[in-house]
């Protein structure tokens, strides 16, 4: 059963290899959908396996931990892999209409598969250096995807993205080097045992801060988020949807993993630091969005502000804090990807993403407009949508733990997000188009299906949140008491 863990990594890389071997464009498109569907099926199997047995471990290469590389899936990992596989599948469908034959010939799908494989690898890996390698796999393919096309704006955005992520990887590697020098191991579970006493962790504070900064850059935390809005609105809509859904969340996941297992935040000054940065991230994200008029740029800034909620949950800690962080991340991935799909459809059907120049969708495309409302109002946190439950969880833990300022800022940012979403709604959907002719271009089915699927998922999280809530609560419990994880990796898997 533990071999299941290898498939989310093997399938994308197998598809990428086939993409290089077979030049047929239609084959590549079919393979993208089939491959991502297969990964989705595997990830659901993984979800049930983890539900049954708690933590699943695979010793890659037959070497037992801590000497070999381990793949580990606890509940959080399984949940992240599953929601990412949903995003991968929906993006593959969306790409059928979005990715032209030139981009297809240039090898779009090769990098698409490798990117997804890197994301799953980063989730599943139980070894710090291996996580670094998966980050690089993910980054190199995202470098190619973000700067392909070669317009001036794309190159300029790509440069900022490449440089800052390069620096972040270097800081991460520096932290790894220091950590290895002290602890002599890079296996996460083994590190947790070796650094079990607070005094030991205190001596490793420089390494912890370097890793924190590196993941902070990748997650888009204040003040190191500027690469994100500079680059996310330029590439193909499929690419920015995948990036928006997954890449920053890999940073958030890594923060949650390292700072619950290896360096628990509970009661340290780093928790205060993270909380302050989270609040500033929330505020600067929404303020940045307020001045923008391009749909994808507005949404990019909102990624940043939402990241603040996720890390605020981690910083507040406790079962409630971690639960809110996990729930928020899962809800956000589905919603944000969907909003970028909608923005992509706006650009495809009216030729511009600048919301001042388009309009009239409510009149001619009511179903599509409704499909925008679901993720948009969910992002803003209107009841009964999933964003409301996510924000409620953050507020609840903030109030119960006495973080009054956090609660106030979380509420304020929620209102401000609503303002941004209403701005897009008024400009792009409600007002008459400035040119006079309503958008009448048919929206192809391949655009409709992924938006519909993700909207359904959001509605499912909204109307029946108990399923996700109880699973996320069990995941948070596993994070708070990592004994199960450590035992499964170091002792039971031999």
């Amino acid at each position: 059963m533990s071999n299941l863990l290898a498939f989310p990594i093997v399938i994308p890389f197998f598809c990428a290899a086939l993409n290089i071997l077979v030049k047929n464009g239609i084959f590549r498109r079919v393979l993208a959908v089939v491959g991502t569907a297969a990964t989705l099926a595997v990830s659901i199997a993984l979800l049930t396996a983890v539900e049954a047995s708690g933590v699943v471990v695979l010793n890659a290469g037959g070497w037992a931990a801590p000497f070999g590389i381990v793949l580990v899936a606890d509940r959080l990992t399984a949940l992240m892999v599953a929601i990412s596989a949903c995003v991968g599948f929906c993006s593959a469908i969306f790409s059928l209409g979005d990715v032209g034959s030139a981009a297809n010939r240039a090898g779009f799908y090769t990098f698409f598969h490798i990117l997804l494989g890197g994301v799953y690898g980063a989730f599943l890996s139980g070894d710090l250096f291996n996580i670094f390698v998966w980050f690089e796999v993910m980054l190199v393919s995202s470098f190619v995807l973000i700067s392909s096309g070669g317009s001036k704006a794309q190159i300029g955005g790509g440069m900022k993205y490449v440089t800052l992520n390069f620096i972040s990887s270097g800081l991460f590697l520096t932290g790894i080097g220091l950590l290895y020098g002290k602890a002599g191991t890079l296996n996460l579970a083994d590190l947790a045992l070796k650094l079990a006493s607070p005094a030991d962790r205190e001596t490793m504070l420089p390494a912890a801060m370097l890793i924190f900064t590196a993941f902070g850059i990748k997650a888009g935390l204040f003040p190191l988020y500027s690469w994100l809005p500079a680059s996310y609105h330029n590439p193909l809509p499929t690419v920015s949807a995948v990036f928006a859904g997954l890449l920053t969340k890999v940073g958030v996941y890594a923060l949650i993993r390292i700072f619950t297992l290896v360096f628990p935040l509970e009661g340290t000054r780093m928790a205060d630091l993270l909380l302050i940065l989270s609040l500033l991230t929330m505020l600067f994200g929404v303020f940045g969005a307020a001045t923008q008029m391009d749909a994808r740029r507005i949404l990019s800034f909102h990624i940043i502000s939402q990241i603040g909620y996720m890390t605020a949950g981690l910083a507040m800690g406790g079962l409630g804090g971690l639960l809110s962080s996990i729930f928020y991340t899962i809800h956000h991935i589905a919603v944000k990807t969907n909003l970028f799909f909608v923005a992509g459809i706006l650009e495809h059907t009216s030729g511009s993403g600048v919301i001042g120049r388009i309009g009239g969708y409510w009149k001619t495309r009511p179903l599509f407009s409704f499909l925008f409302i679901v993720p948009a109002f969910s992002l803003a946190g209107l009841p009964p949508l999933s964003g409301f439950w996510a924000k409620l969880l953050v507020l609840k833990s903030a109030l119960s733990l006495g973080f009054a300022v956090t609660a106030v800022i979380a509420l304020f940012v929620g209102v401000y997000t609503l303002f941004s979403m209403i701005k897009i709604w008024n400009e792009a959907f409600l007002k008459a188009p400035p040119t006079g002719d309503h958008p009448t271009r048919r929206i192809p089915l391949v655009f409709f299906i992924p938006v519909m699927l993700l909207a359904t998922l959001t509605l499912f999280f909204s109307l029946i949140p108990q399923g996700l809530l109880s699973f996320a609560e069990a995941a948070a419990a596993q994070l708070i008491n990592p004994t199960e994880y450590i035992n499964a990796v170091l002792f039971l898997s031999r």
């Binding site: 250096f129 690089e136 001036k152 790509g158 440069m159 490449v162 270097g170 220091l178 020098g181």
Partner: protein, 112 residues
């Protein structure tokens, strides 16, 4: 010997950060390159320097003399390969940027 490698790491980091603050793309690239080298040297040093010992056991499987830790060497090897790929890609991207903007200045790559 540690003190010399540590000083060298400091110099590499210092020079690379100075270069990274520049708006000239070639300097940024050099900064990234030196940063990677500094980090590799840091891993090597922090894992402990041993002089004149191979990172392998002798035939009998026990260790009569001190052995060099092979893991940091493997880590650095991986990091060098990844760094090569990253620098290669950045070089291509920066060259493309120069073709687009006709200059190697970040300011000229702003959107119009």
């Amino acid at each position: 010997m540690e003190i010399w490698t540590v000083l060298l790491i400091g110099v590499l980091f210092g020079v690379s950060f100075y270069f990274l603050l520049s708006r000239n793309l070639v300097r940024v690239l050099l900064g990234l390159l030196l940063f990677g080298q500094g980090v590799n040297l840091l891993i090597f040093t922090s894992a402990g320097l041993t002089t004149g010992h191979a990172p392998i056991l002798d035939g009998s499987g026990n260790t009569p003399q001190p052995v060099a830790d092979p893991l940091p060497q493997a880590l650095i090897l991986t990091a060098i390969v990844i760094g090569l790929g990253m620098i290669g890609f950045s070089l291509a991207l920066f060259r493309k940027a120069r073709e687009q903007a006709g200059a190697v200045d970040l300011d000229q790559l702003k959107e119009d």
